[in-house]
């Protein structure tokens, strides 16, 4: 039983972590031959018929090619078969073997220093944005060409076909498995894991598995993140693909390009910022806004100031807006978990009233807040 990692094994943690972040987000390789062979191996290992492998340049390209394929039928999603036969089995094998040979504290330290960092950089940051972009493109492109009767099944099939078997989903687990492999602590009895890692390293950025066709998405051309690894750029799309798919994001929040442009160039008045209906969009726009603009709000007044249960300041601010008779009032507060500052619309005059009124209550004790 391993109670402590050696100096060399500890140093290897950051090497493997950085290597997988680089593989997932920064390397440019996209080896079609190896990827096609990898997909066919995944299907073979899952006892499925060899599919046609289609490479796509991004979400829009996927939607276009998928729409054409729908007529010939791509078949049902086979993600569960692939998952059960390959992904689940390699993970379980490493899991069982390592758990049996290292102490829990060693296990936890590797999980925290290798898996968690890659998770934050790749899965937590990029996966959902890519998934949402694929879904949006399919909805816009494919749904228009299919009848109502098949719309739901097409939608469900696409959503269900995305497998963990891609860099977007599995860089963290792969880094973790690769660490045990490279450190010599996990000794595989077959080549399943190395084949699987080889498939990912060939550039399997995002994959969708159907019975007859497997789609492999090319790596993005641009990936930009902030210091907290959220997708973020004030100068270009934070995420872009060869097919023209572009995602404009600020600290992990996505915007239409026109809104992104107005926010990063501070082109909006304070009144316009406060009128943004999405709370997260309003928060980001306020963050980028020159705060001296607040003084230009008509009859700007601070109605109440207080400290919340977590020691954070709260305010009620009020100002007059065009075409609204009554002054607008906002409850200004800080999220205790993220430290983010919000302005939330209210009709109350005190912080205490406004905070409980957000939940439809007249009075309440906030026992804890996260």
């Amino acid at each position: 039983m391993i109670e402590k990692l050696t100096k060399k094994q500890i140093e290897l943690q950051s090497v493997v972590r950085d290597e997988w972040i680089d593989i997932a987000l920064h390397q440019k390789n996209f080896d079609k031959e190896e990827l096609e062979a990898g997909v066919k191996w995944l299907y073979y290992a899952s006892d499925l018929k060899e599919p046609k492998v289609v490479f796509v340049d991004g979400s829009k390209d996927f939607a276009r090619k998928f729409r054409v394929s729908v007529r010939d039928s791509v078949g049902a999603s086979v993600r569960d078969s692939v998952g059960a036969s390959v992904w689940d089995s390699v993970r379980a094998s490493v899991w069982d073997s390592v758990r049996a040979s290292v102490w829990a504290s060693v296990w936890a330290s590797v999980r925290d220093s290798v898996g968690a960092s890659v998770w934050a950089s790749v899965r937590a940051s990029v996966r959902d944005s890519v998934g949402a972009s694929v879904w949006d493109s399919v909805r816009d492109s494919v749904w228009a060409s299919v009848g109502d009767s098949v719309r739901d099944s097409v939608g469900a099939s696409v959503r269900d076909s995305v497998r963990d078997t891609s860099l977007c989903y599995d860089s963290d687990y792969s880094a973790w498995m690769d660490y045990w492999l490279k450190s010599g602590i996990y000794k595989p009895t077959d080549d399943k894991l190395s084949k699987y890692l080889g498939f990912l390293k060939a550039g399997a950025f995002y994959t969708l598995f159907f019975e007859k066709v497997a789609y492999v998405m090319r790596r993005p051309t641009i990936v930009k993140q902030d210091e907290q690894k959220r997708l973020h750029s004030t100068t270009s799309p934070a995420l872009a693909f060869k097919d023209g798919t572009e995602l404009y994001m600020l600290h992990g929040v996505q915007f239409e390009k026109s809104w992104w442009d107005k926010i990063v160039n501070d082109k909006m008045s304070a009144e316009t910022v406060f009128a943004i209906d999405n709370l997260e969009h309003r928060r980001i726009a306020y963050e980028f806004m020159d705060k001296s603009k607040m003084k230009k709000l008509k009859d700007f007044t601070i109605l109440d100031e207080a400290t919340d249960e977590k020691g954070n300041p709260m305010k009620i601010v009020s100002f007059k807006a065009k075409q609204v008779n009554e002054p607008l009032k906002y409850y200004n507060c800080i999220c205790p978990s993220t430290g983010r500052e919000y302005y939330i619309g209210t009709d109350k005059n005190t912080c205490k009233e406004a905070k409980v009124a957000l939940f439809g209550l007249k009075e309440a004790e906030f026992v804890d807040e996260w």
Partner: protein
């Protein structure tokens, strides 16, 4: 006085009892507008089919951990055992009330 636990834009209001409803087989309490959902492990959830305004369902907490990448320590928060009404934040606007989603 009402006792409430806040998890982002969701509030768990302590109640003595909850209405008899069929348990929902989901671990998602509410989905956010930016890809992150409020989820849980441990406990039972009873969601209203068509929630109006504030109350979206009920929760029976037993060894419950709440999950959301942006709320709690490392995205986790322990909700004490008990019965709760699940409330969501609703923002006042001159045009009407608007559900808050982060």
């Amino acid at each position: 006085m009402n006792k409430i636990y806040r998890h982002g834009e969701i509030g768990f209001l302590k109640v003595r009892s909850i209405p008899k409803m069929e348990e929902d087989k989901t671990n998602t309490i509410m989905s956010g507008s930016h890809g992150h959902a409020h989820t849980f492990r441990g406990g039972k959830i009873y969601l209203l089919k068509e929630p109006k305004d504030f109350v979206i369902g009920y929760f029976e907490a037993k060894g419950t951990t709440l999950f959301h990448p942006e709320h709690g320590k490392n995205g986790k928060a322990k909700l004490p055992d008990g019965k709760y009404e699940i409330r969501r934040q609703v923002e006042y606007t001159p045009q009407g009330m608007v559900v808050v989603r982060d």
